[in-house]
Every structure is written in structure tokens, then in C-alpha cells.
């Protein structure tokens, strides 16, 4: 079994022959995982579905609020409270707005953080992926959601951004460094991201790696992701050698022989990625990127 980069057999199940489909994204040679930007129509429909779900959740609270508001208004006018009544009503409205806003935002943020997709997105096979490597952080989810206000304002810069940008991101996606991808159900079984699955397991057994500290793992994953997956910051050979030496020294249980530096970095990146996403080490057909 060879370990050198680039000699892995391309998997014909997933590789498509027409590269223009992925013309807006980097495709790593030979790997089955791709980032397909989600078509705008699907994103729009998913959002509409999500809005309907949120409205359904808010239906009863809204009814309660209307009832309470009418009662309060009647009470305020009958008790001749004057300015105090108006201030009370204003406070009531503010509280209601806060509650509804938190339901709306909470829905999106909670589900996108927990599983990377809301129910509307799930219906259309969309998933939110972090471009920093590893798992979506809470900050990313919050930012993504709040900037939707700017995206949907006036001339819809979000729509323009999705059409014009390289990876189909809206302004919220740019800010949070995320991507909304589209997976087909045939791709449910996920192979390794940074390297061939068999090589990964082999290396897992020979090297017995240990995990990094969380802070460093974030930086390392960001580095590896940018280097190997989206290829926006391709490191020099010396840099890879340095990182590989660092990993060898601190995080490998046993010293592997005859494996080149790039493979070491890739392997450890895959290991960290799986740790952050809490994926099991063995292949699970139901796992989606």
C-alpha cells in the first residue's frame, strides 16, 4: 500500500467527469468529498419552509400576546392610567418582540449549531459547513444568522452575493466563513476527507495519535483545511516538514517509518477533523460531511 500523496485511486463512484459542475469550487483530486455550493432556489425554498415552521411555533404565543395586549389596553384606558398605561403597553410590545425574535433566531442558531441544518435545509439536502476546518462554532452560527438582516435588505445584497461570489456565499456566509453545501442522498457514505480511508485506518494503527489542545487544534485545522481542502493557502514544503516534525514529536504514540511529511499532516488533520466533529473512527454509512 503506497502512502504517497496523489497515487490514491480516484473513486469512480463519486468523481464526476464534468468539472464545470464544480467550476466554482476547489475539488481535491481523488477524494470523494466535494463542496457543492447549494443552488439558490433550494436555499430560498428551505428558508421559506423554515419561516413557516417558525411561524407555526409562534402561532399560539402570538394569540396569547394579542389577548393580553387587548386586555391590557382595555385595563389601561378604563383605569385612566394615562401616560403610565402607554409606557406599560410599550414595554409589553418590546417584551413580545424580544420573545419572537429569540424564537426566530434561536431556531436557526440552535439547529445549525447542533446538526448543521435546520428542518427546511434538511428537506432540501442542504448543510452548513465551516470553511475553517472542523466543526461549526457557535459564533459562526450567530453571525450567519444575524447578518441575514443585512442580506435581505433593500436590493438583496445576499442574493447578489450568492450569484456573484466564488462559492455561492451570502454576506452572512462571508462573515462567518461558512458554506451551504448540497449533498445528494447517494453520498451518504462518507470517505475520508484528507486521505483515502484505508490509508487513514492503517496510519491510525501504526501511529497511535493523541489529541491536541483545543486552541491549537483549531489553528492546526484551519491551516490544514486551507492547505488541502479549499487550497487557499498552500504551504511550502519546508512548512509542511516543520508541522510534520511538530506532530511527530508531540502527538504520535509510536514513530512511523517511511511516511512522507504531507501524508503525516494530512493524516493528523483527518484525525483532528473527526475529533472535532465527533465522528467515530470507523466508517459509518450514515455520516454526512
Amino acid at each position: 500500500m503506497s502512502f504517497s500523496q496523489g497515487t490514491a485511486q480516484p473513486d469512480d463512484r463519486f468523481n464526476q467527469t464534468d468539472p464545470s459542475i464544480h467550476s466554482r469550487l476547489t475539488v481535491y483530486d481523488g477524494l470523494s468529498v466535494r463542496f457543492k455550493p447549494a443552488p439558490f432556489g433550494k436555499r430560498l425554498l428551505a428558508y421559506i419552509v423554515d419561516l413557516s415552521i417558525v411561524s407555526a411555533i409562534m402561532y399560539i404565543p402570538v394569540l396569547i400576546f394579542i389577548f393580553v395586549a387587548i386586555a391590557a389596553a382595555a385595563f389601561a384606558s378604563s383605569a385612566h392610567l394615562g401616560i403610565l398605561g402607554i409606557i406599560g403597553l410599550v414595554i409589553l410590545i418590546i417584551i413580545a418582540v424580544l420573545i419572537f425574535a429569540s424564537i426566530y433566531h434561536g431556531y436557526f442558531i440552535y439547529f445549525e449549531y447542533k446538526r448543521g441544518q435546520t428542518f427546511g435545509k434538511r428537506i432540501f439536502s442542504l448543510k452548513v459547513v465551516s470553511l475553517k476546518g472542523g466543526r461549526l462554532t457557535l459564533g459562526q452560527c450567530v453571525l450567519r444568522d444575524l447578518i441575514r438582516y443585512i442580506d435581505c435588505s433593500m436590493i438583496f445584497p445576499g442574493l447578489i452575493a450568492i450569484i456573484a461570489s466564488e462559492r455561492g456565499q451570502r454576506l452572512g456566509d462571508f462573515a462567518a466563513q461558512t458554506l451551504v453545501t448540497h449533498y445528494s442522498t447517494k453520498e451518504l457514505s462518507r470517505e475520508a476527507q484528507y486521505m483515502n480511508i484505508d490509508e487513514y485506518h492503517q496510519l491510525l494503527e501504526t501511529t497511535h495519535p493523541t489529541a491536541m489542545q483545543e486552541k491549537e487544534m483549531k489553528k492546526f485545522l484551519g491551516f490544514a483545511f486551507a492547505a488541502f481542502i479549499i487550497q487557499t493557502k498552500i504551504p511550502s514544503a519546508k512548512k509542511i516538514a516543520d508541522v510534520a516534525a511538530h506532530i511527530r514529536e508531540h502527538y504520535f504514540g509510536s514513530e512511523p517509518q517511511g511516511i512522507d511529511n504531507t501524508t503525516i499532516v494530512r493524516f493528523y488533520a483527518e484525525y483532528c477533523f473527526r475529533k472535532t466533529n465527533k465522528l467515530s473512527s470507523t466508517l459509518n454509512p450514515k455520516e454526512i460531511l
Partner: protein
């Protein structure tokens, strides 16, 4: 254990590229593997792309300054009804001044920090545009950004926006504020 540094110095400085593209910031992007795309290159950013990018930027800034403007406009005027004339007048003048200063500060920070750190504001990032020094290809600092935005763009607006329009007709797509302050707007395109 000392912290390991994963940030990369630019892998190689890249060749001089075509005309004014200069050096790229995050290392030269080499051609990708056969299954991927052929490569990227930087060309001068066209008029209409910059136009839409500017509109989007304006929208984003308005998002912050407009509510502030309403706040500073509404509140003092309402309050001034409750106090006597002279105090009300001072209140309005002061709040207008504060509003003005805050708006300019917000715009300066927005453009300054984004141009300095990433070479592009979000409106430009959407289209893959970036603003660089026309000789060295580096990103420009806050001082030069401030001058370019507040003085340069005003100059471009004089005489029926001729300074902006000239960007459409020049080969290197430079507007008047680009010429004066030695900047170039590039667009990243796939070859």
C-alpha cells in the same frame, strides 16, 4: 510547550504578473491538480462590478449609520420640546455634530480596517475584488484609505462623476481617486 505557529509566510512571492497586478497577498496560487480548476489570475476590476460592490458596501454602512441618524435626529427633537428654547437648540446642534462624527468614524473604521486586513470590504469580497497599492501590490493602510475615500471620492464626484466614469474607459480601470492615491482595484478570476 511553546506555541506552534501555523501561520504561513507567503510561500513564494509570485511573479510580477500582468501589468499592475503586483504580488499576491497569500502566496502565489499554483495551478491546482488536474481534477480542479486551472488557476487564478488578477485583472483590473471593471466598472460595473465595482459599482455594484459600492452599492452593497453603502447598504452595509447604512445599516449602522441610518438607525444612528434616526436616533440622533428623533430623540433630541422630541426632547427639545420639553426644555426651553436655547437648551433645545444646543441639544439639536450637539446631537447632529455627534451623529456626523460617529458616522464618519464608522465609515473610516469600516473601510480602513477591511482594506488593511483583507484588502477588500465585504461588498468587494463578494465579487473577488481587492484594493492594492499599484506599485507594490500590498494592501493599503488606514491613512491612505481615509484620504482615498473622503477626499478622493469627493474629487471623483465633481463635474458629473467624471472621476468614476473614467474608470470605465481606461485600460487599467483606474478611477480618479485611484490615480491620485496610487491604488489599483483587481478582480480575481479563474482562467
Amino acid at each position: 510547550m511553546t506555541e506552534f505557529d501555523y501561520t504561513e509566510q507567503p510561500a513564494d512571492q509570485g511573479t510580477a504578473g500582468s501589468g499592475t497586478s503586483g504580488q499576491t497577498r497569500d502566496g502565489a496560487l499554483p495551478p491546482l491538480s488536474p481534477a480542479g480548476e486551472a488557476g487564478v489570475k488578477f485583472v483590473p476590476g471593471g466598472f460595473w462590478v465595482r459599482f455594484v460592490a459600492t452599492i452593497i458596501d453603502g447598504l452595509i454602512i447604512n445599516f449602522v449609520t441610518l438607525p444612528l441618524g434616526v436616533l440622533f435626529g428623533l430623540v433630541p427633537n422630541v426632547l427639545s420640546a420639553f426644555v426651553d428654547e436655547s437648551l433645545g437648540g444646543i441639544l439639536i446642534v450637539v446631537s447632529t455634530a455627534i451623529n456626523y462624527i460617529v458616522s464618519i468614524a464608522a465609515a473610516t473604521l469600516y473601510y480602513g480596517l477591511f482594506y488593511k486586513k483583507k484588502g477588500a470590504t465585504p461588498g468587494k469580497m463578494v465579487f473577488g475584488l481587492r484594493v492594492v497599492d499599484s506599485e507594490t501590490g500590498n494592501f493599503i493602510g488606514i491613512g491612505r484609505t481615509f484620504l482615498r475615500e473622503f477626499i478622493g471620492k469627493i474629487l471623483s464626484m465633481l463635474i458629473l462623476m467624471i472621476g468614476y466614469i473614467m474608470a470605465g474607459f481606461r485600460g487599467d480601470k483606474k478611477a480618479l481617486h485611484d490615480l491620485i492615491f496610487g491604488t489599483q482595484v483587481l478582480q480575481k478570476i479563474k482562467t
